[in-house]
Symmetry: C2
Subunit: 361 residues, 2 copies
C-alpha cells in the first residue's frame, strides 16, 4: 500500500530549493512509479533471460551507475546464484578487444545512455551472440537502441549533476529484475514497501540533518559498508566528492582492516553504513575501532543502539530486508552531502569541472 | 639476459634499512627467480586451464592481492579474451552462498594463503566442479591446499606489513600465466626483460626521490591510472595509506571525469601513472586539467615530455610493453611511500593498527 509522498512534495516547493534538493525529495514518487509501471517490462526481461540461461553476468557502467552495478553483484550473487563481473569498459575502447561474452548476460547501465564506452561493450557482446540489456533513463538513447532489451527508469529529467533519483531507480530496477527472476512472491511484496521506507528516511533525517553542519570543515572522510551496502558506501563517497569537494573514500569494513585502517586517528570522520542484516556486525566492529581511536562517527542505521553510540546518528525505518536496504541507506548520505555542500557555500547543482553527461571513450 | 641486481643488494646492506626498504630493493632478484624457477609450473597450469576451457575467470583476493587481480582483469581480457570477475568474498562468508562457478576458473590470490574468506570461495568453486588455482607465497598454506593448482611466488619471507615484493611477483605470476596460455614467443621474451627494468627504475628513482620529501605534509592525494595501470594507481594509493597515513584515492582517469574531478584545486597533489601505451593519453589529459587548476603533479612515466611537465617526474626505463609496465610503474610509488613515511617519522614496517596477516571472515 502506497500513500502519496506529501512530505517530499511540500519541501520541494520551496523557492530556493536546488535541483539536487528537489530530486532527492522526488525519490519516493519516482520509485513508486517504476514499481507500478515498470513491472510488466521487468517480467518480460526476466523471461528472456531465463530462456537464454546466462552462465555469468557482465555489467558495464561508470560513476554512479557503476555503484548500482556493485549492488547488483551482491544481489544476483545472493538471490540468483549468478556470478557478476563489473566490466572494464576500456578493454573495448582503449584496447579494441572484448572478452568472450557469448554465454553472458551483458548489462549496460547509464542514466543518459550516451556513454560511448558503455555502448561499445553492449555492441561487442551482441555481435558475439550474448544477451544484452540496457538500464537507462532514456529509452531512445544509443545504449537502449544497442541492446536487445531495455528497462527504462522513468525517473523524469535529472538536472543536478550529482545523480540521486536515477541511482535509487537503478537499484530498484535491479531489485525488481532479481525478484522477477526468482519468482518469489514475498520478494515482490517487500519491493512494494520501498517508496514509503525512502519517504520515512527523508522525514527522519530532515530533523537531524541540522547537526551535519558541524562537519562543514571536513576535507577527508571514510565511508564504510559491507555486503549489499558496500555499494552504498561507494555512492555516498561519490556524492560527497561531487558536491562538497570532500576526499571521501569508500571501504568494505573487511578491506579497511587490510591496511587503510592506519588512517583512522583522533577526530578523523568515519561514516558507517550499518543497516541490520548480515553485513551489520562487520561494520559495527569498525565502530569499535573508530571509538578506540577517538574518531568522529556518523552512523546510518535502523538499530537504535548504533545510532546512539555514533556522534551523529541518521535513522532509517525498521523492517527493510537487507537486500533492499541500499535503496534507503543511501538517502541520508545524499542529504548529508547536500547539507555539507550548502554549508560550504557550494552550489551542488554545478560542481566545478563537471558536466551531466560524460562521453568517456 | 639478466645481470646481477647489484644496486639493490648494495643499498639493502645499509644498517638502518627497514624491512620495507630491503624488500623494495629485493624485487629484481625475486622477480628473476620466479621467472626462471616458476616457468615449468606455470606451463603445466596453463595446460590444465586449456584442457578445462573456462568460460570466464573469477578471482578472489583482498588488499594488495586484489590490486594484482585488477591487473589480471585487463591482462586476461586483452591478451586471452577472457572475462574476469573480481569476486565479492563476502558472498560466501556473510551470505553463505556462492554463484555458479562450474564453468569458471576461480583463482585465489593471497601472500600468506591464510585468509578464510578467500579459501572459502576456492572450496565452493571446487565443490561445484570448477577449476581452482592458488597464487601464494606459501605453497603449504590453507589456500594452496584447497585449490587444484598452485603457483608459488617464491619471494622469500615478507616482513614489512606493506607488501611490495609479493605484489610485483603476483603481477609477474599472472603475466607468465597469460603468456603461457597464448604461447606467443615474443611475450616470453618480453617477460625476461622485467627484472632489469625494475632494477633500472629503482636506480633512476633513487636519485630523484629526495624531492619527494617536499610532499611530507601532504594528507590527501589522488593517484590516476588507466587500463593496465589502473591497478598500479590502486596499489600506490594503498601503500600511501598503509605507510604514511595519506588519504590517497585511486582513480581511472575516465571515472575521475565522471564526478570526483571537482576535488582537484590549487596545490592539490595529483599522481599520474602514465607509462607509454594505450592508457597514456587519457592520463595525460588529466595532467592538462591538473595544470589548469594549479594542482601539484607527480608523474610516473617513460615519456620525457611528461616527466618534464610534472612538478616531480619519476622515470621508468623505455621499451617495456604496456601489459608488463605495471610491474615497473608501481616501484616509484613504493619508493615515494617509503620516503613520505620516513620524512613523517613513521616506521613503515609497523603502521598503527595493522598486522601482516588479516583473517577476514
Amino acid at each position: 500500500m502506497m500513500t502519496t509522498p506529501s512530505t517530499s512534495l511540500r519541501t520541494a516547493s520551496s523557492a530556493e530549493a536546488t535541483a539536487l534538493h528537489r530530486e532527492i525529495h522526488e525519490q519516493p514518487k519516482v520509485l513508486a512509479k517504476l514499481l507500478s509501471e515498470g513491472w510488466p517490462t521487468v517480467c518480460e526481461v526476466a523471461q528472456r533471460i531465463a530462456a537464454f540461461g546466462p552462465v555469468w553476468v557482465n555489467i558495464v557502467a561508470r560513476g554512479t551507475s557503476d555503484n548500482a552495478a556493485r549492488y547488483a553483484q551482491y544481489l544476483f550473487g545472493v538471490n540468483n546464484q549468478l556470478g557478476v563481473a563489473l566490466a572494464a569498459p576500456s578493454l573495448c575502447t582503449l584496447y579494441n578487444t572484448a572478452p568472450r561474452l557469448k554465454e553472458a548476460l551483458t548489462i549496460g547501465v547509464s542514466q543518459s545512455g550516451q556513454s560511448p564506452d558503455v555502448v561499445s561493450v553492449i555492441e561487442a557482446a551482441r555481435k558475439q551472440g550474448g544477451l544484452t540489456l540496457a538500464i537507462s533513463n532514456d529509452p531512445d538513447s544509443p545504449l537502449a537502441r544497442a541492446a536487445h532489451l531495455c528497462i527504462e527508469l522513468n525517473a523524469g529529467c535529472e538536472q543536478s549533476v550529482a545523480a540521486t533519483k536515477t541511482y535509487t531507480t537503478e537499484l530498484l530496477a535491479f531489485a525488481m529484475l532479481s525478484a522477477a527472476m526468482t519468482g518469489h512472491g514475498e520478494q515482490r511484496e517487500a519491493l512494494l514497501t520501498v517508496p514509503n521506507a525512502v519517504e520515512s528516511t527523508i522525514a527522519a533525517c530532515s530533523t537531524t540533518m541540522g547537526n551535519a553542519t558541524h562537519y562543514g570543515h571536513v576535507r577527508r572522510l571514510v565511508v564504510v559498508g559491507r555486503g549489499f551496502n558496500f555499494a552504498t558506501a561507494h555512492e555516498i563517497a561519490l556524492k560527497l566528492k561531487e558536491t562538497s569537494y570532500v576526499l571521501a573514500e569508500p571501504y568494505s569494513s573487511a578491506d579497511l582492516l587490510h591496511g587503510p585502517v592506519a588512517l583512522i586517528e583522533r577526530d578523523f570522520p568515519v561514516m558507517l553504513v550499518a543497516p541490520s542484516g548480515r553485513g551489520h556486525d562487520s561494520v559495527v566492529e569498525l565502530l569499535d575501532v573508530a571509538e578506540q581511536r577517538g574518531a568522529r562517527t556518523i552512523a546510518i542505521s535502523d538499530v537504535p543502539a548504533v545510532l546512539e553510540r555514533a556522534d551523529l546518528g541518521l535513522a532509517m525505518p525498521k523492517g527493510i530486508p537487507e537486500w533492499l536496504s541500499p535503496i534507503c541507506a543511501v538517502v541520508p548520505g545524499q542529504l548529508f552531502a547536500e547539507t555539507l555542500s550548502t554549508s560550504k557555500g557550494i552550489n551542488p547543482d554545478k560542481p566545478r569541472g563537471l558536466s551531466k553527461v560524460t562521453l568517456t571513450r
